[in-house]
């Protein structure tokens, strides 16, 4: 098997995550989809690391995880406060950005 397949898998997972972001309304699920996209990127980074024969790719993946953690913390806090005020976790309810 060619290790390039890992990249194909990463691309597939990324696309699924992106589509999920577009079709789901629940903010929590939306966030999960974002996590899925990030994980797909990480897989690609790890595969690249193997391809180039150095550890830089893994370091980047490591940083991605840290940033993802920070993002999740803030994002979920936003969802909680949004739920408190609107009693709903649906992103479509927060549609005030129009005339």
């Amino acid at each position: 098997m060619n290790p390039v397949n890992y990249l194909y898998l990463a691309a597939l997972l990324f696309t699924i995550g992106a589509t999920g972001v577009l079709i789901r309304k629940n903010a929590i699920v939306l966030f999960m989809c974002v996590e899925l996209m990030l994980n797909a990127c990480n897989l690609a980074f790890v595969a690249f690391s193997r391809m180039h024969g150095n550890l830089d790719g893994q370091i980047i993946a490591f940083f991605t995880m840290v940033v993802a953690a920070a993002e999740v913390v803030v994002g979920l806090a936003i969802i909680v406060s949004l739920f408190r005020t609107r009693h709903s976790a649906s992103v479509d309810d927060a549609s005030l950005m129009k005339l």
């Binding site: 992106a18 972001v21 577009l22 079709i23 309304k25 992103v91 479509d92 927060a94 549609s95 005030l96 950005m97 129009k98 005339l99």
Partner: protein, 631 residues
Amino acid sequence: MENLIALLIAAPLFGAVVLLCGGRRLDKTGHWIGTLLAAVSFGIGVVLFADMLGRSADERTLTQNLYTWIPVEGFQADMAFQLDQLSMTFVLLISGVGTLIHVYSIGYMEHDERRRRFFGYLNLFVAAMLLLVLADNYLLLYFGWEGVGLASYLLIGFWQHKPSAATAAKKAFLVNRVGDMGLSIAIMLMFTTFGTFAFTPVFGAVGETSEGMLTAIGLMLLLAACGKSAQVPLQSWLGDAMEGPTPVSALIHAATMVTAGVYLIVRSAAVFNAAPDAQLVVTVVGAVTLLFGAIVGCAKDDIKKALAGSTMSQIGYMILAAGLGPIGYVFAIMHLVTHGFFKAGLFLGAGSVMHGMNDEVDMRKYGALRTYMPVTFVTFGLGYLAIIGFPGLSGFFSKDMIIEAAFAKGGTEGWILGGVTLLGAGITAFYMTRVMLLTFFGEKRWQPDADGHEPHPHESPKSMTIPMVILAFGSVFAGAFFEIGERFLKWLEPVTGYSHGNPPVSAMTVTAATMVMLLVGVGIAWAMYGRRPVPVVAPRGSLLTRAARRDLYQDDFNHVVLVRGGEHLTRSLVYVDHSLVDGVVNGTAASVGGLSGRLRKLQNGYARSYAVSMFGGTAILIAATLLMRAV
């Protein structure tokens, strides 16, 4: 010495600032401050004059470069002054007569609660006029020119509570704008032609310039002069300007404002000398105005308006003389100076009469005032003798010189112009005699005013009579002083140049003819107004009289041609604007609006919807990248 030049302007300007910004606390002292600063300016002028006399004719021009006003590459305008014999003459006239009028106003405006402001405006007027005559380039001259326009607007409309005064001020301002446009176009033409607008380089470069361009510049300068000096066709504001307080009329007619046009033409002598066509137009304008003003002056019953007509006519003389070229420049200025004396005296006298007659201006309601106002009568009378050219008085010399110069133009032109000036002299004698007879002689024709107060004519206070006496003195002796030994000619010749021309008849003949015209004019006036009693209500009069009473239909002409025409033009422009311009604009706006309305639907507020757009955009970007790599 040259450092004093800026002070000439600075003194009255400082006065204007202090008086206009000083507020009520200066109400008690404001008129003294204003008068003092005008006098300071005159004093500096005298010092400079003495200094100038002490030098030889070649070294008399002083210049002072204060600072660079507009420092732009290729467009250099300096705040620079030039004081030569011509400017000096004007400085002394403006500040001298101006100071006398200030003194006169102390008495005349005594009961006006806005006297401080009036003196502020007067100072501003003097400062602007001094800036105009002292500038060493056309742009700075334009600055002073506009300053004069502003000050005249403020002063003519000083009694702004009277709608007629406010309208007259507006009229003067607007008519002046037309002339100012001429000046600005002339300056632009100069800049494109010569690359500069300072006097010396412009006059130096005249030789290398095409005559057509010089004619254009000259005509534009003439338009400017017509506006300021009330020459046909921009004469209509002068009569209405009588709505201002009488000292203002005196200032406008004698020392400032109307003389600016003459100054401009004489100053630009180099341009006009090289453009004979423009000169011809100048003389024609002068000749037409001369007769126009004289005819209007004959018919007016309002003493100030009669005098205004006479001013128009006298300025016509000057413009005509200035149009004659080197033959006439000196005499134009000489007549301007003597006219400054006697016209200021006449206006101040008229103001004095009105002061004693409850502000009545209709001469038909005067009569027999000579015993009630002896000082006014004598000073006014001397001014009258001067203006009609009584032998020995100043008007005699200066006007006679202009008539001689007009004949000296030579050829048919010379005969026509000479004839016109002679005729003008006769009419002048007629209408001035009429004013004199109606006002001071005959029987009392006084009427109670609207409130029923019977007028009690009385002599005016000292502050008013003393300036009148001084001016009368000038009216009597100035001409003789200038003429004996040709002093004035020698004084001005280095600046303006002089040539004798080729007079077809001897000077004595011309003088004799003038005398004849003078006697005829006085005689007719005497026959009409001296021998028989004057009706209080003006008779209907002949067609010409009626026309002259209406200023020869100048306002009707303006109304029909300019106002109506303007209205039609505006209406059609409005139509074009509504249908075409607005149509295009509104159409564009409507289509953009419609498009936006459709695009707005995309902004549904759903974050996911925006995310789709983003995602699709990313996909397109990647596709483009791949495509470019593949290509």
